[in-house]
């Protein structure tokens, strides 16, 4: 069984004057350990797809099966719990709670999971070291650069020990050198812990780092290329 199975997912936004078909019959399988980029022009449905896979949005038709569970069967509260324990999220920007320090931001997700203080602190420190911010644990987001903030977001995403990490344009607000180093980090984590990463982007340099590239066009999968086999 694949880690993520996307079965004939169609998403129509009908809140607008003209209904928008954001996803059109998308069929995909994503395996554990992948380092996959969803690419495509603006409006092609990347965010919509990631939201549906992440349980933040529900498909109009079709379903998503994660770890052998059809997540559309979850009630809203169960879905929150599912996200908390199974999915790590990194968003484009402003991921962090501004009043919390780096460490507290990472800890918070474990607090929601109900971990005790000692355990939370230990894991938060480890993760911040892993993302190269061991010396900035007590800084607030506003005292850190955009790249550092995204690293903390990655650390937070991993803190809950998720099955996979979804990152919607994680490098969009970064310059290319910083974007590169964030990609290095993610790739390392992928290699070292076999952590699955699915990220969207339209940055050509980021695309080139992916092991698999899924191209969307007008809400449909246009191309699906495997660049590099997982070890």
């Amino acid at each position: 069984m694949s880690l993520i199975q996307i079965n004939k997912v169609t998403k129509i936004y009908d809140g607008t004057a003209v209904p928008v078909k954001a996803l059109n019959n998308v069929d995909l399988k994503i395996e554990a350990g992948e380092f996959t980029a969803i690419v495509g022009p603006s409006g092609s449905g990347k965010t919509t797809l990631l939201n549906i896979v992440g349980g933040l949005d529900i498909p109009t038709s079709g379903n998503v099966i994660i770890d052998n569970v059809d997540i559309s069967t979850y009630k809203p509260d169960e879905l929150v719990n599912f996200r908390l324990h199974h999915i790590g999220f990194v968003f484009q920007a402003y991921n962090l709670i501004p009043v919390f320090t780096a460490k507290e931001n990472v800890e918070f997700i474990m607090l929601l999971q109900g971990l005790v203080k000692a355990e939370r602190e230990k894991r938060a420190t480890e993760l911040l070291n892993a993302v190269g911010l061991g010396d900035r644990v007590n800084n607030k987001p506003s005292e850190l650069s955009g790249g550092q903030q995204q690293r903390i977001a990655v650390a937070r995403a991993l803190a809950s020990k998720p099955s996979f990490v979804l990152a919607d344009e994680p490098t969009a607000n970064l310059d290319s050198a910083t974007a590169d180093s964030l990609l290095d980090l993610m790739e390392n984590l992928n290699k070292e812990f076999n952590m699955t990463f699915v990220f969207s982007t339209h940055d050509q340099r980021v695309i080139s780092r992916a092991h698999r590239i899924i191209t969307l066009h007008d809400g449909a999968v246009e191309r699906d290329e495997l660049i590099k086999q997982n070890q």
């Binding site: 809203p76 719990n81 501004p98 009043v99 607090l111 929601l112 809950s160």
Partner: protein, 404 residues
């Protein structure tokens, strides 16, 4: 951690939070101070009435209650008095002989309530002896002394040492006249009392009536209002053929006032808090609106709506309590200061004394009031938070993150 998050969130927009905290604090300061002034007035009205002539408990015959006849005297008064004197927490008991009569000076006359007393007993029960403005309060045992109020003295055009004549109906229905010399003039907070009450020694009146000692009224004074209920119950049990009344029954308007003040002030503060409610809601609403994206992220990564809801309620409670505590501290300091120094109301004294109020007002506020206000603040906070909190949890994380 949630508490610390809530606390820090409050201080994100310092100015906005400080403004609403200041609004709450000032609102409460004014509200509590005004309440304390009202309470102080009530207390002083009650205390001065008790001090002036009521005492805490009074005993009459049931017939006297209705008809106030000279013949409605308390039977076996010495036995009653000695029973009263065995009561706990007693300061004193004064037996009084009461006759409605006339007082005449050379130029004028008027109706008065003549009260025959044993000065030593009466001093323990009331505080007229402390309110003498001319002469003295039965300093010696000379016969035919009369002590009366300043207002009455003015009305009659008399001074200390002046002679007056009292007239009243005797036991057999004939009119009795007695000449008295004014040896003391008192001035209480109540001009009504000062205009209508005169004191003479009981021996003088007994000899005018040519009778054995008779009494119509026993006024009882305890060490504290708190102890009235027990003694009252004891006496009621003992003398079921007499009419025993506590100050609340003797002056039902005071009791009513006492209760009304408490109720009114709670409503008054409720209104202030209700007005603040809109300010708090507005502050929290702005704060929520600014954080839509953040709530989206929090809910996306796994914070339950219930938790987001409680966090906003918690923030509001903290914000309101900070304002509330500051307000209560400022208020208690202000009240303590004026409670000690007093507020001089002499500018309005003429009007106030008609109601039996002194010219210096001492604001007080019972502790229970601070407790009820804290509960009200908490309720206000929760009510204020509900709308912003609902707004926050209605957000769809996907939309919140996409659009903000």
């Amino acid at each position: 951690m949630l508490l610390s998050l809530a606390w820090r969130n409050i201080w994100r927009n310092k100015r906005r939070s400080l403004i609403i905290i200041a609004a709450i604090a000032v609102g409460l300061l004014c509200g509590l101070f005004a309440s304390a002034v009202m309470f102080g007035m009530g207390e002083s009205l009650i205390n001065s009435t008790i001090d002036r002539d009521l005492g805490h408990i009074q005993i009459h015959t049931k017939a006297f209650e209705d008809d106030k006849l000279l013949t409605d005297t308390i039977p076996s008064v010495q036995k009653v008095l000695s029973d009263i004197k065995s009561q706990p927490n007693l300061i004193g008991a004064s037996a009084r002989l009461i006759i409605e009569g006339m007082i005449s000076s050379a130029t004028s006359s008027g109706g008065v309530r003549i009260t025959g007393i044993i000065p030593e007993d009466e001093k323990k029960v009331t505080s007229i002896h402390n309110q003498i403005v001319a002469g003295s309060y039965f300093e010696n045992e000379d016969a035919n002394q009369i002590v009366l109020g300043l207002k009455l003295a003015e009305n009659l055009g008399i001074r200390e040492r002046s002679k007056v004549v009292l007239s009243f109906q005797g036991l057999d229905g004939t009119i009795i006249y007695g000449a008295f010399r004014v040896t003391g003039i008192f001035r209480t907070e109540s001009t009504m009392f000062d205009r209508s009450t005169v004191f003479i020694q009981e021996n003088d009146i007994l000899s005018l009536l040519s009778t054995e000692p008779i009494y119509h009224e026993i006024a009882v004074r305890l060490n504290s209002v708190q102890n009235v209920d027990t003694v009252y119950a004891n006496l009621r049990k003992k003398f079921d053929d007499l009419s025993i009344k506590s100050w609340k029954e003797l002056a039902p308007e005071l009791k009513l006032m006492d209760e009304m003040i408490g109720l009114q002030l709670n409503i008054f503060l409720g209104v202030i808090l209700f007005a603040l409610l809109f300010g708090i809601t507005n502050t929290m609403l702005m704060s929520v609106m600014e954080r839509i994206r953040e709530f989206g992220v929090l809910m996306a990564v796994g914070m339950k709506r219930r938790k987001v809801f409680s966090m906003i309620i918690l923030e509001t409670i903290i914000l309101s309590l900070v304002g509330g505590v500051v307000g209560m501290i400022l208020a208690s300091i202000t009240i303590a200061y004026f409670g000690f120094a007093g507020i001089n109301l002499s500018a309005f004294a003429a009007g106030l004394s008609e109601w039996g109020l002194g010219t210096i007002l001492y604001p007080v506020l019972p502790i229970s009031f601070y407790l009820s206000i804290t509960v009200m603040i908490l309720l206000t906070a929760v009510f204020s938070a509900i709308y912003p909190a609902i707004k926050a949890i209605k957000l769809k994380p996907a939309t919140a993150i996409r659009t903000f």
